[in-house]
């Protein structure tokens, strides 16, 4: 570290070079009052309160904008500064209700008093929702103002209530600009701005339009940085200060944001992004505003349910567990299947697979990773030897080039989207390859609108340009990789004429993309479901790996191939061996040494046969080979392709146990439903998309009679007379995981208490691994894979002329089990939408907002049409969050031969105009 020494108030202070005077002072414990400064934002210098005197500098510079230099002499508190500060702060108070600072009754007011005797409402006192947490209050106290000598102006502006989550009361705004800056500079949304100027200046939206019309993503970053009560959560506006705060990991996507849950009277009242951690103080609308409502939702399952005469009846845990154990005892071996959950903790998943293998005697365990990143594991293991994100989230922001392919990053992984825009702000090149004009295209240097399913062709085309133009990293290819010649031969078929024909991307753009990616290093690739959910998903993944190796973009910071994991713990569920072919840590069940290791650790005999995959389990159930299933925290009725078929499979089962927090569409088909505790009600760990193992901390007591999943499984195991299930706390389970799982070898709750650890972390001394394959690839040499183009399994024809692809909305998660319980999220996005190009819509006579019927070979759904140019003609797009319009009735269950992932991203459909007027008039 490059250290400098300076003097602040005659005190010698050491600081890192490049920091500002303000940061240096704050780190040294010297307080300087500020209002516009926020640690997550670039310096701004508008409140002028952090003025200081610096020897040799003219005037009074602001500490927040002045870089600290060696030998600098700073005074923060001379009489001149104090006087000017008081004067400036008094100016702020002439436009901000200030009875809460200056009222003479202030000290005598109790916490629950509402005093309207001494002040008018517009002057506010304890009636301000920010009372007690207001930064202005703190600064006024410090600077010391007890009376105003200038006239006060109340702006008398109406309170803006157009957000479902927060109020905007600009009467309390001091125009520090934090909200505008965070919205523009950090989030890249630019929804709010300064309007007017001079003394008329305000914060608002363009033309005063509602937030939803100006690109607001409701991430709440503005609320988080607001120093006063101007922006405040509506739900907890009057709740007062929290009793305590618990930092835990967000239960939504795989980014693993750290959230501070505010607890009052045993309830979560608010969730704010923690300034530390992977998210650096950012969150998305779901994590920020979508937690408390689902956790405390009245529809939560609160006691075990057993189906009697077709109806669910509440029973005691004792009854339910006995019933489950008695039934499961009948189905040991290959007639049993276990559907584990990417939403549950590592400890839960470890217990599930241990139960399935050691107690039920089968490897038939899988989970929804099969539907998302099975090709990643298969493809990247083949290419690199490890199937996880090669690099870390924070490295993305420092990349010189980002290729985002098949990922709607700002929508599905919003906080990673923040990293991408950070990179762009620092000058990185951004290439977006996506059939849809996603939000990220606004920041992109290049947008390649390729046809769904043409990824291999597009990527191979780019690689051909790189080789033809000599832009490859020859020495990396020669020294670190093998099988290059076979790969190069396979490129022969991908001349640009062919690639353009298949992908519809103009050749010029392909060449440009290749050049940008190959010449701006470090370059990183981000991908998600757009790459994996294809019958050639594994090929797609290997194509991205080829591209990274070809240009030497692996094994270095800010490079790599980075699959963005969808669910909070899908990485962890895979790591824990909730997969049919591997034990925890990807140790093959077919390897006899490994099997022996687990047999001795678990004191049982284990099956050497790899089990069935998720899709195969349901198929086997359909055929009657599997007769009982334990299913935890999944909702295949909505999430899996060809859902009619899934329903038939589940109905054919002799015994189905579902553990969940709500009575999901799938749980409704169960024989026994066991109520699980949510993430907020228990301890554990999640492993995020960048292999970071983080703590989940119990914030509140379980709702009703719900229980943690690991506890439930252990109770069943014990009733089946199994040994090794006597755990009292998840930390003990981690104690069993670590020695059996090499990559988790050094992980313990004690270490995690301080900070998360990125695997591989083999020993208690190991600091964790930021990026993989540094010196050598996990498999030794990186392997180039020869590839050929294979079209999607189902192509449009006369009867089904359109291609349907699927997406995720920013406002909902997965099958909506949690987010559909949140009123505000439903207010923003209430129904399924079918995105359709205006040309197609015109041909079908469909207007924007009209209800339409979408039909595939497997079924039909109705949804509302959204006529939009973000898609090319011939392609339509839907999400899958809405039980009312179950999109996966339509999708194609055709499988990738290697990873067994179904082709959720491409199927052929037709869209029909609905002539039933009553449906059109129905406002869902």
């Amino acid at each position: 570290m490059d250290t400098i020494t300076l003097t602040i108030n005659d005190q010698e202070v050491k600081a890192e070079r490049g920091r500002t005077v303000l940061e240096t002072a704050l780190e040294a414990g010297i307080y300087i009052p500020t209002l516009c400064y926020h640690p997550s934002l670039p310096p701004y210098g508008s409140c002028r309160l952090c003025i200081v005197e610096i020897e040799g500098m003219r005037g009074l510079p602001t500490a927040c904008t002045t870089p600290a230099t060696d030998g600098m002499k700073v005074q923060t508190n001379t009489p001149q500064i104090q006087q000017l500060r008081r004067n400036i702060l008094e100016l702020v108070l002439t436009e901000h209700p200030h009875a809460c600072f200056t009222c003479d009754r202030r000290e005598r007011c109790g916490p629950l008093d509402i005093c309207l005797r001494n002040v008018a409402v517009t002057e506010r006192c304890v009636t301000c929702p920010k009372n007690g947490r207001c930064e202005l209050q703190k600064v006024v106290d410090y600077v010391g103002i007890r009376e105003l000598t200038l006239p006060y102006t109340y702006k008398d502006l109406p309170i803006e209530r157009d957000s479902p989550f927060f109020d905007r009361d600009y009467n309390l705004c001091i125009l520090c600009g934090r909200c505008v800056r965070v919205c523009q500079e950090i989030r890249g949304a630019g929804a709010i701005t300064f309007t007017y100027r001079g003394s008329q200046a305000l914060v608002g939206t363009a033309f005063g339009l509602p937030l939803q019309e100006v690109g607001c993503q409701f991430c709440g970053a503005c609320v988080d940085v607001c120093p006063t009560g101007a922006l405040i959560e509506r739900a907890t506006k009057w709740a007062g200060l929290p009793e305590h705060i618990v930092t835990t990991t967000c239960p939504y996507c795989g980014v693993g944001c750290q959230l501070d849950l505010e607890i009052r009277k045993g309830e979560i009242t608010n969730a704010t992004p923690s300034p530390e951690g992977v998210n650096r103080g950012q969150a998305c609308v779901k994590g920020r505003f979508g937690i408390a409502e689902f956790v405390h939702h009245p529809e939560r399952l609160t006691s075990p349910l057993v189906r009697r005469n077709g109806e669910f009846v509440e029973v005691t845990w004792m009854q339910a567990l006995d019933l489950v154990a008695t039934n499961l005892a009948k189905y040991r071996g290959e007639q049993f299947g276990f559907v584990a959950s990417a939403k549950c903790t590592n400890e839960d998943n470890y217990i599930m697979q241990k139960f399935c293998r050691a107690v039920m005697g089968t490897n038939n365990i899988d989970h929804c990773a099969r539907l998302c990143h099975a090709p990643t594991v298969a493809g990247l293991v083949t290419s690199f030897g490890s199937g996880a994100m090669t690099n870390s989230i924070h490295e993305i922001g420092d990349a010189a080039c980002i290729l985002s392919i098949g990922s709607n990053t700002t929508s599905s992984h919003p906080v990673i989207g923040v990293e991408v825009t950070r990179a762009v702000r620092q000058g990185a090149k951004l290439i977006v390859a996506n059939p849809r004009e996603i939000d990220l295209c606004r920041f992109a240097d290049l947008w390649l609108q390729h046809r769904p399913g043409s990824d291999v062709a597009l990527l191979m085309g780019m690689m051909r340009v790189i080789i033809d133009e000599g832009l490859l990293d020859q020495s990396f290819v020669e020294q670190r990789c093998d099988n290059f010649d076979a790969f190069r031969d396979s490129l022969k078929k991908f001349d640009l004429d062919f690639v353009e024909r298949v992908s519809s991307v103009p050749q010029g753009l392909i060449v440009e993309a290749a050049r940008i990616y190959a010449t701006h290093k470090p370059a990183t690739i981000l991908y998600a479901m757009g790459i994996t959910q294809h019958t050639h998903g594994t090929d797609n993944v290997m194509a991205t790996a080829n591209l990274a190796m070809l240009t030497g973009n692996v094994g270095k910071p800010s490079t790599g191939v980075n699959p963005l994991r969808g669910q909070n713990n899908v990485q962890g569920a895979c790591d824990m061996g909730a997969l049919p072919n591997v034990y925890p840590g990807y140790q093959a069940v077919a390897n006899s040494d490994i099997k022996q290791k687990f047999e001795s650790a678990w004191d049982c005999s284990l099956s050497a046969t790899p089990g069935l995959t998720l899709t195969e389990i349901f198929e086997a159930a359909h055929q009657g080979q599997i007769k009982a299933i334990c299913l935890i925290g999944e909702n295949p009725m909505l999430s899996d392709p060809d859902s009619k078929h899934i329903q038939e499979s589940l109905e054919k089962l002799e015994f189905l146990v579902v553990q969940d927090i709500f009575l999901s569409e799938t749980a409704r088909l169960a024989d026994v439903v066991l109520p699980a505790a949510t993430f907020a009600e228990r301890d554990g760990t999640f492993t995020n998309t960048e292999r970071l193992v983080q703590r989940v901390r119990k914030a509140i007591e379980p709702i009703g009679d719900s229980k943690p999943d690991w506890w439930i499984i252990c109770q069943i195991a014990k009733r089946l007379e199994a040994k090794g299930f006597d755990f009292e706390h998840p930390s003990q389970i981690m104690g069993e995981i670590a020695p059996l799982t090499p990559s988790y070898g050094g992980i313990s709750y004690e270490r995690l208490e301080k900070e998360g650890l990125q695997w591989p972390c083999p020993t208690p001394e190991h600091p964790g691994t930021k990026f993989l394959h540094a010196e050598t690839f996990t498999r030794g040499k990186g392997r180039f894979s020869p590839l050929e183009y294979r079209p999607p399994a189902e192509l449009p024809d006369e009867e089904y002329p359109l291609v349907l692809t699927t997406e995720r909305s920013l406002y909902h998660f997965h099958t909506g089990t949690m987010t559909r319980k949140v009123k505000g999220l439903n207010a923003i996005r209430a129904v399924e939408l079918v995105d359709i190009n205006p040309a197609d819509a015109a041909e079908l006579g469909i207007a924007d907002g009209e209800m339409v019927r979408v039909v595939s070979r497997r079924g039909e759904v109705t949804a509302r049409a959204r006529v939009t140019e973000i898609l090319s003609p011939g392609v339509v797009c839907m999400s899958f969050h809405f039980a009312e319009s179950p999109t996966n009735v339509l999708t194609n269950p055709a499988l990738d031969p290697i990873s067994k992932i179904p082709e959720l991203k491409v199927c052929a459909v037709r869209v029909e105009k609905l002539n039933d007027h009553w449906i059109q008039g129905l406002d869902v």
Binding site: T65, I88, L150, P151, L175, F194, G198, S199
Partner: protein, 638 residues
């Protein structure tokens, strides 16, 4: 084509013009001339010449600076000196054509003066006139002489020789030359130009920008507009020289959209430069390339502040940011950037054309060269002037400006635009340079100079300027946004007679807070009109506050009109003209102003026949008048 070939052709064209056997008519058609009616004059000239079948060469030229006497038409008869005519109207065109062009009578009664060699009896030499004699024309010296839309005119008159010279020098040598010239930024801050370039040249990075600040926004200032309209190439040549010296290959001209003619002429000039290989890639066959773009500003005063200007080019809200980082390190799009204003660029061209030593002969020790000013307000001769730095204010106001209008007395001069200070007569003999003006509490600014006479209320002037800066504040920093509003509130109260004794102290405190606490120079200088008037005219504030009296008789709420009974003859003229029927009276009756109804428009004072002079305007005093109109005879008349 080499530059020598370009130049020979340009000179040939210029000489052909000078030797032309046809008469030449030059019409001042800058925005100022056009506003004064030059278009109608042009049309009249064309019609008249056509009717008489006279072939002449008509050229629209830029402004020569004599705004008080626009429109200006100059006539050059072959083998005769050029004669300037002022206040030309379409009506006198036939006479000029007939008398001078046809009959050879130069109409000395209409002529202002002659330009160039040779004299004509009865007509003085224009540049010997008091208005022009003290002036030194460096940046303006081609304005009014060349066709600003013809690059050849510029080249034939020494244009681009500075660039050619620069291209033969090392960049360091150019910067040294500019340093030697002593040129300081003409945008107002007066930072040494050469040093500024040096910072930018030394900044790391290959992508660098130069910017021309043409966002002249001071009310009453038009120096930059006139220069761009009259001689755009001189500005562009300066930019080329700097770009080469600094190592910039991209540049912007940020010009306000309210200057359509300047924008048009810039665009024409740039097109011609490209044709001649003076702009674009490999300029004049060298390795040096420069691409320039025009960015039209939307008229926010604060966008003249360099960091706000750059934000505006980037498509962001025009708001200043703190320095460091300085633009030389991190400017436009985060790249090293050098920004100078229009006048600085034109000076650069002159310095390279004629040498630093030649340039440094003008001005004072610390302030070299000349400065243009928009001399306006209560002087006889308003206009655009260029004077050597260090000239005394008195010389500017009395010699060039011809003194105060109507023989009134001088009260103050406000320099530097709306955020400059008002200097009292104590400063009339002070030199006009950066340091002296700053010391007196004002600023050089970009060169506004507004002269105030005894009929101007300084409190009202301070209120006016503050209302401007208050409105034009971007709203970013607290002292400027709120402080100026609070100050304005107090000033408004004072001018309405609602001032309180503590207001002066409060104003002083607020002014210091805004001045010392603001982020950028807009806030830093906005209190200057208040601070200087408090300093030099405190008594006037006190009159307003303590006596409810406006000594200049300007503040409406503090004045009253009375009809003196001993003078009124009951002629009813004021009664008939009063727009609000506030005057009661009758034939041969003493008239009385109903003070409750009066709107203080002053019509009665204006219309009362001078031989009666019965109406008076008073402030802070009462005049005894009868309660009802009474016969004139009942009052003892003077």
């Amino acid at each position: 084509m080499t530059f020598e070939e370009i130049r020979s052709r340009a000179i040939a064209e210029w000489e052909d013009l000078e030797r032309s056997t046809k008469p030449r008519i030059l019409v001042g058609a800058g925005t100022c001339g056009l506003a004064a009616g030059a278009e109608a004059v042009l049309a009249a000239i064309e019609t008249e010449l056509a009717q008489r079948n006279i072939e002449a060469i008509i050229t629209q030229v830029g402004c020569i600076g004599l705004c008080y006497i626009e429109p200006l038409v100059d006539i050059i008869k072959p083998r005769h000196p050029r004669i300037s005519y002022g206040n030309v109207t379409p009506e006198i065109i036939p006479r000029l054509v007939e008398d001078y062009l046809v009959n050879g009578n130069p109409c000395p009664d209409l002529a202002l003066g002659t330009i160039g060699d040779g004299r004509i009896e009865g007509i003085p030499s224009l540049f010997e006139l008091p208005v022009l004699k003290p002036q030194v024309r460096i940046v303006l010296h081609r304005c009014g002489f060349i066709d600003p839309e013809n690059i050849n005119h510029y080249i034939a008159n020494g244009g681009y020789s500075g660039l050619v010279r620069a291209l033969g020098m090392k960049p360091e040598e150019i910067i040294e030359e500019v340093k030697k010239s002593g040129l300081r930024g003409r945008g107002g801050a007066g930072f040494p130009t050469g040093q500024k370039w040096d910072f930018c040249r030394r900044a790391s990075g290959t992508e660098k920008y130069i910017i021309c600040n043409a966002d002249e926004g001071d009310p009453g200032a038009f120096m930059n507009r006139s220069l761009l309209e009259g001689d755009p190439h001189s500005v562009l040549e300066g930019m080329l020289i700097a770009a080469y010296a600094i190592g910039a290959s991209e540049g912007y001209i940020y010009c306000r959209a309210e200057y359509p003619l300047a924008l048009k002429r810039l665009a024409i000039a740039m097109g011609q430069m490209e044709e001649y290989g003076l702009l674009g890639d490999n300029i004049l066959g060298s390795d040096f390339s420069l691409h320039l773009k025009i960015k039209e500003g939307a008229g926010a005063f604060v966008c003249g502040e360099e960091t706000a200007l750059m934000a505006s080019i980037e498509g962001k809200r025009g708001m200043p940011r703190s320095r460091p980082p300085f633009p030389a390190q991190s400017g436009l799009w985060g790249k090293p950037t050098n920004i100078n204003n229009v006048e600085s660029w034109a000076n650069v061209a002159a310095i390279l054309q004629r040498g630093a030593e030649w340039y440094a002969q003008y001005g004072t020790e610390g302030c070299k060269g000349t400065k243009t000013f928009a001399l306006v307000g209560k002087v006889e001769r308003t206009g655009l002037i260029e004077v050597p730095l260090g000239i005394a204010l008195r010389e500017v106001i009395y010699d060039i400006g011809g003194g105060i209008v109507g023989g009134n007395s001088f009260k103050a001069v406000q320099t530097g635009g709306p955020s400059g200070g008002c200097l009292s007569s104590d400063f009339l003999d002070s030199p006009v340079d950066y340091e002296s003006l700053t010391k007196a509490g004002s600023i050089m600014g970009s060169g506004g100079m507004i002269v105030l006479d005894e009929n101007t209320c300084v409190v009202d002037i301070a209120r006016y300027f503050l209302s401007f800066t208050q409105k034009e504040s971007c709203g970013k920093c607290v002292p400027c946004r709120v402080g100026t509003r609070q100050m304005l509130g107090i000033l408004e109260r004072i001018t309405k007679g609602e001032g309180k004794p503590e207001d002066i102290e409060q104003l002083q405190r607020l002014a210091e807070t805004v001045k010392n606490g603001s982020l950028c120079a807009l806030g830093g200088t906005a209190p200057n009109p208040v601070l200087t008037t408090l300093r030099y005219f405190r008594g006037e504030y006190e009159s307003h506050i303590n006596e409810k009296r406006c000594p200049a008789g300007v503040c409406q709420e503090l004045i009253a009109y009375y009809i003196l009974p001993e003078k009124c003859q009951g002629c009813q003229i004021c009664l008939r003209n009063c727009p609000v029927d506030a005057i009661r009276g009758g034939k041969r009756m003493i008239h009385i102003v109903d003070q409750d109804k009066c709107v203080k428009c002053g019509t009665c004072l204006d219309v009362c026949p001078p031989r009666f002079s019965a109406v008076v305007k008073v402030s802070g005093e009462e005049v005894t008048v009868p309660e009802q109109p009474v016969p004139v005879e009942s009052i003892k008349q003077e």
